[in-house]
Symmetry: C2
């Protein structure tokens, strides 16, 4: 996994937790109004505050990933009692070059055809807000993450 230097200093702690935890639970709002989550392996946190994942574009979670779909990513470091909530906007990205950059042999079990899999796509989550805790139910810090603001402003104000 790649953790790039963050242009937004508030994301430094966020980057540390993500780098350690690696797997997130991605929660989406389903059409029937329920909330579902599933594990996702984080491939990169880029310098603009975007998180990148491999996914199958035909999988149910992706069918729903219309532009700017709101999602939540939850990361935990249970040994340190670190918990991180990321609210963001998700989009499917088809970019062969980016997929090559991010490919890693350890994701092969889930995508055995590797980059030749026509179903393989990238899920990009632009961080809109990140909040973390070092003990349950007590927010110790909120990183208002405007990391996206210089490349793709999203229609949401921070609290």
């Amino acid at each position: 996994m790649e953790i790039d230097e963050q242009h937004n200093a508030a994301l430094a702690k966020v980057a540390e937790i993500i780098g350690d935890a690696k797997f997130a639970m991605l929660t989406t709002l389903e059409k029937d109004g329920t909330l579902r989550s599933r594990p996702m392996a984080t491939m990169q946190l880029d310098g603009d505050g975007n998180l990148w994942f491999f996914t199958s574009q035909s999988s149910p979670k992706i069918v729903e990933a219309k532009p700017d779909q709101q999602v939540n990513l939850a990361y935990m470091r249970t040994d340190k009692q670190d918990y991180l909530s990321i609210s963001g906007a998700a989009e499917l990205v088809h970019d062969r070059e980016k997929m090559q950059d991010l490919w890693s042999p350890w994701v092969k079990p889930w995508f055995p055809k590797e980059l030749d899999d026509p179903d393989l796509a990238l899920l990009k989550v632009s961080i809109m807000e990140a909040e973390y805790w070092d003990a349950p139910d007590s927010a110790t810090a909120r990183a208002d993450a405007h990391a996206h603001s210089h490349n793709a402003p999203l229609p949401r104000k921070s609290p």
Copy 2:
């Protein structure tokens, strides 16, 4: 934490993961359309498939907890690569006796006034669907959890 015997056998594995992980990330849909999560300490999985948590009724997550509000609970056992998604309906419960039953000294740091805190309440999540993975992105089992069906049927069919 109490893990009661499950009337629904499909919840046995779910109970095992919850008992081990103890902390969940609770995701809710906010009024502005974003999804947020925050850590919650699980106090009990009762025999009817309900999960119980202590909460402050004035905290933002609770303001939103109207009857049958849809939520997601994500549990992780990172050492075993176990991931669990629970879709459920949340409600605030005010029940002094139940709070006494569930009270534990280890939650005192978050609720220093203990049971005398007028802001203290219970959050009950009725499990509607549980799905777990033992490796990312590959659902190995889905427990269609109708654990609630004999006490409080909720208006949702399973997939």
